[in-house]
Every structure is written in C-alpha cells, then in structure tokens.
Amino acid sequence: MKSIFSHRILIWLAPLTFLGVFFFYPFLRILAFGLSFETLKPINLQLAFHVLLFTFYQASLSTLLTLLIGLPSAYLFARFDFHGRSLLRALSTVPFMLPTVVVAAGFNALLGPRGWINLTFMHLFALNSPPIQFVGTLGAILLAHIFYNTTIVIRVVSNALSKLDPKLEQAARSLGANERRVWWNVTLPLLRPSILAASLLVFLFDFTSFGVILLLGGPTFATLEVEIYIQALQMLNLPVAALLAFIQLLCTLAFSIIYTRLSTRVTVQSAPRSTYQHKANTIEEKVFVFAFCVLLFTFFILPMLALPLRSVSRLQADRGQQTQVHYGLTTDYYTELFINRRNTLFYVPPIKAAINSLGYAGATMILSLLLGFPAASALAKPGRLEKILDPILILPLGASAVTLALGFIIAFGRLLILPWLVPLAHTLVALPFVIRTLQPAIASIPDRLRQAATTLGASPFRVWRNVDWPILSRGTLSAATFAFTISLGEFGATLLLARPDYPTIPIAIYNFLSQPGDLNYGQAMAMATLLMALTTAGILFIEKQRLPGMGEF
C-alpha cells in the first residue's frame, strides 16, 4: 500500500511542481497584492463593483441569447436527420476553438468599418462614412459570444437529448400524455441538468472573455478581464489589477464548482441508448429544420468566409494612394507580410511573429504532454490522492489567461525579459485540456486487455507497445494538436507577457488592426486568415480523432 502511494507521489511530482511554481505561487502573490489594506480603499472597491456588475450583465445577456439559438439547434441535431447534417455539425464545432483574434477579425471583415457590408453600402449609396456602427458596440460583443458558445449548448444538450431513452417518451405516450405534456413532464425535467450545465459553462466563458471584448468592444466596455489588463499595463496599477484578478478567480471558482456538481448529474440520468433521428415529416417540422439550417449555416459561415475573402480583395485605397487604386483581387497583403517596409529595427516583420508563434506552440505542446501524461494516467485510475488533486488541476482552467499572466508579472517581474515565459503561460492554459483529452483515452483501456496480453506472453514493454500505445496514440495526437492550436491562438496572456520584439501571430494581428490604413487592415486579414486555416485544420483533426463516447467538455 505504502509503496503504491509513494509511487503515485512520484508520478505527480512534475505536474505539481510546475503548477506550484507557475500557478499557485503567482496566485498567492496576487492574493497578497490585492488584499492589502492599501488596495482595499473605497475608490478601488467601487471600481471593482462597477466592473463586476458590467461583467455579470454582459455575460448573462450573452448566455441568454446563446440559449435562445442553441436550444432549438440542439433539438435540431438530436432529433432530425437532414441533408448536410454532419457538415453543419462539424461547422458548428469550429468557432468554439477559433482564436479570439480570428473571430474578431472575421466579424470585423463582415461588419466592421472596412468590412464587406459597410463597404457595399458605401459603394451603393455613395456614402462617405460606414453606415453601420458595429465595432465598439455591446452588440458586437454579444454577437461574437453567441458565435463562440452556441456550440457548447448544441453539444451538451443535444448529446443529452439523443442519449435520452426514447422508451421514456413512448411510455409517457402510452400512459396518455400528448406530445406537449411528454415534453413538459418527461423530456424537459430530464434535460434540466444538462441545460443548466451548458448555460453555466457558456456563462463562465462569457464571464472570462477577453479578446473579443477588447478587440470588438474596445476598452470602454471594461469587464473584469479588460480592466485587469488596463490597470496592469496601461495604468501600471498592479495592486488594483490584483484585486480584480482575485475577484475574478473567486467568481470563476464558484462557477466551476457548481458546474462540476451539475455535470456529474448530467451523466447519471442518460440511458445508454442509440440515437434516433428522423426525417422532418410535418410542415412545422420541415419549416423548423429548414429555417434553422439556413440560420446556423449563415451565422457560422459568414464571418469565416468574409475574412479570407477580405484578405485577397483590395476594396479601398491605402493612405497616400489616392490617385491610382486597382480595385479587385490581390495577393499584396500576403506578400507584404514578408517585407520590412519601414526599414526600422523596431518593426518586426510579420513572418518573424509567425516563427515565434510556431516555436512557442511547439514548446507548449511538448511541455504540456510531458506534464499531462503522468497526471492523466494517475487520474484515469483515481485513488484517494487523485480525488483531492483532481479539482486542483482544473483550477488553472477557471483562472483566466489574463489572471495567469498578471500572476507571472507580479511573481516573476524581473524575468519578463525572457521570451520563454510565454510558452510556460500557454502550457498552463493548455494543460487542463490536454489532461481531459488523455484521461478518458487512458481510462478506456480495461486492465483485462493488459492482463490478457501478459498471459499471452507479452513483456511489460510489449504490453505498452502493442496494447496501450495503439489505443492511446489517437488521444495523444489530439492532445498534442489541442496544445498546439491553443498556443497558436492564445491572446490574453500573450498580450501581457510578450516582449514587443517577440510578438506572436495574434499580437501582430492586434497591432495591425489598431493601426490605420488599408494595407495594415489587409495584412491583419491575411494573418488572421492564415491563423484560421491552421487552427481549423487542427480542430478538424481533433474532431476526427475524437473517441466515441468521449466527454464533451
């Protein structure tokens, strides 16, 4: 017994040391900073209260609107069989994983002042200024949040709905319940935990959203996240930033705990039944299926289509180019990415940002796999130790990227000149995902398989080589891709930590977007398109590797 326990400690040594140094130590420093008497002044508390209020407000509103679109969509996927069903389902999974800069750039390309819709109107009606004010409004934030999180509602609720034993509804029917009463008395009560869990998860993501709010809303819409960034980097007021980060952590921790409780209930009530989808029969069903297919398809595809199209179209004159403009298709924005036009030492050509990003992503991938494997294999066969450690490992998931980065700044301020702090922060962000991907894959291998292989004469290494690895390789590839794409698109922590001479792709896009001129805008579009292509490839790869019956989130 004792030897097993110490063996387990050994497994945990690396992951726990890493979390201790790079998460809990900075976290304690934030606590010390944010909860000092000097920080807890009325004026700071008042600011915190206002920011918290707005954060709740926008998150609640976003969640409500997401449910409004997500619930009918979940019903659509769970109950109906229609042409393009799998395509639409695959399409709906992409936004959730897209980097915030890509989504922001996509909506910008569609509805921004230089976007397709505004430029079309300006062209048609010979207007001088864009007629639709989108960027910088609450609407932009809400729309982007819905775009991001509808997937969660679809996934969680339609999964629960299609796992629901159809016999329960049939039993209710045979007991005299009409369709409406079946829905209210049987289906909805059984779905309630999953709807609640999905809402909570959506709320959590909306609550901690940073990139979307900064890029589409602007600094006037100060949520906790944005305010932490402003206080830390623009006001250089670290204590107030730490106070806000503490409040943020407290909130997300509470939501995470409730969510974990709920999601255990979600798994209990579903029966192991196969799905049952049918073709739309009645006119109402046909109208519903058609309308929602069109709605979801346009909603998901338009921003993702507007972006690459905008990146190859010259629609406006660049500054100082008023005389001669060739409207139409162009590859200029892409070729410009490789040129240091300003010829200054301070300007970093975008291609260097791409190289940085790939390097960081590779380091993040290796590091999070090295740390994730031992943690996941221990969690796959939980003992007493694991029951205690499990929630500790999800903690970094609850902490937002901006908070993690703030912790780094406060704890390792002097080390910030080192570029490798960035992949360490990325690893913290990616680690929970990596563990959650590996754990079910490892747990899916029953001991009987290994025992059978052993009795057939396989040595421990050959058991691992011929039984474990073939089953685990898919999960490992997914986890690696997860870590890689997360690092590629990470914005919040990078914005706080990256040195100006070591930008990543998202930072470069952000810089281009905040500079005037069509050429800068075009380059932002081009880089965002490349990033979108890379991440989409990653997401689709992960989706293909997804084990049947693997957890949703």
Binding site: D165, K167, L168, Q170, A171, A172, R173, S174, L175, G176, A177, N178, R181, N185, V186, P189, L190, Q269
Partner: protein
Amino acid sequence: MLEIRGIHKSYEAQSLLQGISFLVGTGETICLLGPSGSGKSTLLRIIAGLEPPAAGQILWDGNDLASTPPHLRDFGLVFQDYALFPHLDAFDNVAFGLKMKNWKSDEIKTRLAEVLELVNLRGFEHRKVTDLSGGEQQRVALARALAPRPRLLMFDEPLGALDRALREDLLNELRGILHQTQIPAIYVTHDQDEAFTIADRVLLLHDGQIVREGTPADVWSEPNSVWVAQFLGLGNIIEGKIINGKKVETKVGNFSMTCRHKHQVGEKVHLLVRPLEAPNEANQIRGRVVDVVFQQDRFKVALDNNLYFYLKDEPKMRQIFEIKVKLECLR
C-alpha cells in the same frame, strides 16, 4: 376486442412484418413467441400507435385506430428495461398515467394504494426508482401500466433482464393479476417456458408471419412445421421419403405411418421423432449409445445415428439399444 388486420412493416428496405393478423378476445392473454429480431417488439409499438404500420389496420371493437394518437388509445405498455422515469419516485411513476387523465389527487391516492397492493409494492411509494432492484422496478412498471385501467395491456419481454427464479415468481404473479383484472393482454417473448406459462393462446412468429397459432397444448402436440418443431426443441427431425401411402423410408429405418397431408410416392418429408419412449407405438428405432448425460430425473442418451432420447434408467455406453417411438409428419 382487439383485431389486427394484415400488418406490414419493413426496416431499411428489409421486410420485417408481412401481413400479421390476429384477434385478442375479452380477458384473453395471447403470447407472441419468436426469436429475437422477428419483429415482435415492432408489432407492439405499432399496436400502441408509437410507430405507423406500412399497411394494415388496428381495430378496437371494430373501430379503426389509425387516426387515434398513442396517448388516447388506452393501451398500457410494459417495456423490457422498464423505462421508469428516473426523475420521479415510485409513486409519481405509477401516478403518471392518472395525472395525464387529470384525476383528482385523492382519487389518485386511493387508486395507487390499490395498484401497489396488487403488485406487492406497499411502502415503496417514495423510493427513488433508480435505487430499486430489478424485480421491484418491474413491479413499478407493471403498476404504472395497470393504474389507469387500460383496456389492453402489452408486455415487451418484461422479464428478460431478471434471473430465472425471480422470473418464475413474477410470471406467476402476473398470471394471477391478469386473471384477476380480466384485462386482455399481449405478451411478447422469445422464451417458450414464459409463453406457455402465461398464455391462453400462443402465436409463433417467423420471418414476419404467424406460422402457428393455438393453445399451448395444441402447439406442443402438433407443431405442424419443421421450423416450429425446431424452435420449440420438440425432438429429433429426420428426412424421409414416401414409399407408399402407409410407409416412409429414412436413414434410420423404414416406418409404417400415414401423413395427414396427401403426399405423392417418392416425395421427401420431414419426420419428428419425439425423444420419449412410446410403448404403444409400432415403430422402433435401433442404435448404439455414444453419450449419456445426467439431467436430474432422467438421462439424455445420444445414439450413433445422431438421434437422442430421454430415459429413466441409465443405459450402458456402446450398448445396442431399441426404443419404440412416436413419429409425426411435418411440413
């Protein structure tokens, strides 16, 4: 009275039910017996109105139910894995049908006391159904179906998930309840013991058709077809050739017998050789004992001609052995 007329149904271009017709009289329990995949459960769901038939009619007292939705049919259905509502306790599960009929709460209470008494579940009202044992869950499912006083009860392999001893107990209880309540019932199973215990009439389903129908005793004594004899495991089936109206030639000997159906000379027939000794019969089979298996009150004896018989006394191995048997012609 329920009448089923010419029901057809196919699944993914495969024909499942090909013209099923039968009647269920007042107070009668009929049993649909067939191997798994023979479409028994689908037929039940069609009768319940949960699935439409491709062709055919369901009639109650002569009225076509095609336009009656399932919740207005008043047919109770007991599922194989119970399908109890996991979010409701035992009481609310059983009361569900009554609430759908908008019964008053005191009426519901009275009725529930009655029904729970009937299925021996008093005191279980406020237990979570997920905490109940398999047998208890089955009783709740039965009570739930009985409570609204349905005009027909249907059982879809209701005891399939239970162990043998419990199955026998519940089956006898169910038999008693069906007799007591006089509700006509359709019972679906693949287990012939269950079918013969509970049914007034057995319908054997094969390849989407009813191949034999009758009381358990009739079906047992006159299987009529090779498939039925094989499915029920009634005995040895051998091939033979008609020599004349009174004689059949087989590999294990020539027998004097008459087949009920007219056969031409030289035609091939299948014969059922019951595995029990029939001292009053004229026909006799000879063989060498190659295997003896002890089976509680008898011995199963295999002969070198691939036939088997049940004997009271243990024969010697390799012994040549003669037995008088009853032979029947099968179609």
